[in-house]
């Protein structure tokens, strides 16, 4: 990125992991905090030269996925080869992602400084559109070396910046200080996460929708898998406090026969209503339902997080822009949250480079609005899709169950639909349907 290499960057983050040398012990069992990165995010990491560091640590590509629910009325299997790709995604521990990005950054030439403290206040100097001929600007405030946002940190230091990027998560302080309003609601669900071990390797991502919420089993490498189980808060705290053996039992129960029967696989010989839709059938359309690998033991502590949906009404204002969870928080049921964030980062850096190419001030609203125009619709659509799923799958009602089953069948056997779903979930496609207007 030659256009942006002259920019100096200050990273304000009080996370202690940024300070010491990043050394991850390979013998440690996987941390339960993991992310599923889509192929689009992997491309982004490769572009910036960070993926090579991820590959040095534990990471698990997966090329198959199975989704079903407790009613046993239907299932869908996805395979990367349905869209002529080799992987559907990769599961990586968050600490590996952090250290890879840190290593990548340390090996670049641009001027960067890490400030290990918190942001306490932010001031934006008077905007230039309010300049009128008769005002006499005071030299001290306006002429502060061209940096027009002032940031005060908890350790007493002050910084001036042309652009403040709020990448500080769901409880973003930047968002709060800049006065962005948010919309959202909390799902009355918590997610319990942990690492588990099997007797054999797992290359498939499994997700089963149960009455209270989905349970996901994601391969993390070396016979380990990650569990993300969404349920109501009371059950979540019970699960966290019960002893390990009982927890392993209910895990297997939830993944296998608990709550309902296995779906029946449709053999290729039988006639079914989708035969005329099939067209160019996907590889996975013929695959049978499989039971996920048994959990043998628990390999980490159990952590519980509340789930909510939140969206900032605006992503930009003068000299301030929000990316990632600071701008949007979603339900984890499709593993999309962090990928939306990386999509934001990729788009913002491209927009900044394009702005510099035409001599723009990187903090000006008209430039930042281009980033918002690109990301906001895509993020909102994804949030709506995920929210829709969350609501559709949390109701146990006969006709709705059958509709869901039909949806599973549809996705399983209608190949163009399945390919569309895979492309959208992989980040290759910005919107669920190919709308010609929004390119």
């Amino acid at each position: 990125m030659p256009l942006t290499k002259h920019l100096s960057v200050a990273i304000i983050d009080s996370n202690p992991a940024l300070g010491k040398s990043n050394f991850i012990k390979k013998e440690d069992p996987p941390d339960p905090r993991v992310s599923t990165v889509t192929p689009a995010t992997i491309s982004f990491f490769k572009e910036i030269g960070a993926w090579q560091y991820v590959q040095q640590h534990r990471h698990a590509y997966f090329d198959k996925m199975q989704v079903w629910d407790y009613t046993g009325l239907g299932y869908t299997k996805y395979n990367a080869r349905d869209v002529n790709k080799e992987i559907l995604g990769c599961v990586v521990e968050n600490k590996v992602l952090h250290s890879s990005l840190l290593s990548c950054m340390q090996n670049t030439e641009f001027r960067k400084t890490i400030y290990p403290s918190r942001l306490t206040s932010m001031a934006l100097l008077p905007s230039s559109s309010s300049i009128s001929v008769d005002s006499t600007p005071s030299a001290t405030t306006l002429f502060t070396k061209g940096h027009l946002a002032k940031l005060d940190l908890s350790d007493g230091k002050s910084l001036y910046a042309k652009l403040v990027v709020g990448a500080d998560g769901g409880k973003s302080r930047v968002r709060e200080l800049a006065g962005f309003k948010t919309t959202g609601w909390s799902y009355s669900q918590n997610a319990i996460i942990c690492t588990v071990e099997h007797n054999k390797e797992n290359y498939c991502a499994w997700q089963r929708f149960l009455p209270a919420g989905p349970i996901a089993l994601l391969p993390i490498g070396d016979n380990f898998s990650n569990i993300v189980w969404t349920m109501n808060p009371k059950d979540a705290s019970d699960c966290k406090s019960m002893n390990e053996d009982d927890f392993v039992k209910i895990l297997n129960h939830a993944l296998d026969y608990g709550y309902g029967p296995h779906p029946k696989s449709i053999s290729s010989g039988s006639v079914d209503m989708f035969s005329w839709f099939r067209g160019d059938a996907t590889l996975s359309a013929k695959e049978c339902f499989e039971v996920p690998p048994r959990v043998v033991k628990l390999a980490s502590e159990r952590m519980v997080f509340p789930l909510s949906l939140k969206h900032a009404n605006n992503y930009v204002s003068k000299r301030v822009v929000l990316i990632g969870d600071a701008a949007h928080t979603v339900h984890p049921l499709a593993g999309q949250g962090v990928n939306l964030g990386f999509g934001d980062a990729s788009t913002l850096s491209r927009i900044i480079a394009e702005g510099i190419a035409v001599g723009a001030d990187i903090g000006e609203v008209s430039l930042l609005k281009k980033y918002e125009a690109e990301r906001k619709p895509a993020n909102i659509v994804m949030m709506a899709v995920l929210d829709g799923f969350q609501k559709a799958y949390s109701v146990d009602f006969g006709p709705l169950n059958i509709l869901r089953a039909a949806a599973f069948h549809g996705a399983q056997y209608i190949s163009p639909l399945k390919r569309n779903i895979i492309s959208y979930a992989s980040g290759e496609q910005r919107l669920p349907l190919p709308l010609p207007l929004f390119t």
Binding site: K5, S129, I131, V133, L142, G146, A357, G359, A360, S366
Partner: protein
């Protein structure tokens, strides 16, 4: 009610004939307010009540006094809104990145500068003729150029200076309340001369081009952007932009004052400038963005080099 001009281009011998018919009023009585597509910044050529053919139109004065006070007042009145990107100058702010992309591309190629540099114009002297509030001058300065911005309206220059002082990268811009002709008299020379959205407000484009050429060093660059005199431009830039969408005040532009690309090339040629590249600006109403295109039927920009 409006002045009617008929300009006939005679193609065969290359002579540019201009026969003007006036009905009752003159140019100046039109409420030509300062607009997004540039103010009456190139004052000398907005002359009033010239009822002569082009053959004896050398009645151009270089002084801003040829501008009527009413027009100046109109420009001054909304001068404060130059930098309000949602205000009356919104279309110009939207157009800015697109015209800069063309300028960057052509100038980098011509002066053999690195297009991947963040400051490719380092070492170049550029004059922005009719700079207004500095919307074009500031990005040029950020791209490394030594910029001089000139405008006939004093208030525009004041606003431009105030805004440019906010950023040390732009505070080096030299702003002057003057005209192209005066600069020629001062024998100033620049590597690149840019007159964007100006020539359509000028009564004598041929003379204006001669001034621009005189300001350009030999083998230097001249960039002019304007609106085409086509039916499509009448429909979009006059009817749609002024009367229907109200993007620009009515009477901002006189369709008959627009130049076709062929005419512009011709008058530049007579001013010793060879037009090397031309592109069009196209507006997408769905995205609200301008983009570069081969379609020069409405807005277009031309890049030329000065013969030695």
């Amino acid at each position: 009610m409006a002045a009617r001009h008929l300009r006939i281009l005679s193609g065969c011998n290359g002579a540019l004939l201009s026969v003007r018919f006036f009905s009752d009023s003159t140019l100046a009585q039109e409420p030509i307010a300062s607009t997004a597509i540039d103010s009456a910044s190139v004052s000398p050529s907005i002359n009033t009540a010239e009822n002569h053919s082009q053959l004896n139109n050398n009645k151009k004065h270089s002084a801003p006094s040829s501008l009527k006070h009413a027009e100046l007042a109109k420009f001054s009145a909304i001068a404060d809104t130059w930098w309000d990107s949602e205000g009356p100058y919104k279309p110009l702010h939207a157009l800015n990145p697109t015209r800069l992309a063309f300028i960057r591309s052509t100038l980098c190629r011509h002066f053999r500068k690195d297009p991947y540099s963040a400051r490719p114009f380092e070492g170049l002297n550029i004059v922005d003729v009719g700079c207004g509030g500095g919307i074009l001058s500031e990005p040029l300065a950020r791209m490394g150029a030594t910029v001089t911005g000139i405008d006939a309206v004093e208030k525009n220059i004041k606003i431009a200076r105030l805004h440019a002082d906010l950023d040390p990268e732009t505070s080096t811009i030299e702003y002057c309340c003057t005209t192209a002709e005066k600069l020629v008299e001062e024998q100033r020379k620049f590597d690149a001369v840019i007159a964007s959205e100006v020539i359509e407000h000028v009564a004598d484009p041929a003379e204006f081009c001669k001034s621009l050429s005189a300001l350009t060093v030999s083998e230097g660059a001249t960039v002019i952007s304007t609106i085409n005199r086509s039916m499509r431009a009448y429909a979009t830039a006059i009817i749609a932009a002024e009367h229907i969408l109200h993007w620009l005040p009515k009477g901002t532009h006189q369709w008959s004052s627009f130049l076709t690309p062929e005419e512009l090339v011709l008058i530049l040629q007579r001013a010793s400038i060879d037009v090397k590249e031309m592109a069009g600006f196209v507006y997408n109403p769905l995205t609200g963005r301008w983009s570069l295109s081969d379609d020069i039927s409405v807005n277009f920009i031309a890049f030329g080099t000065k013969n030695s």
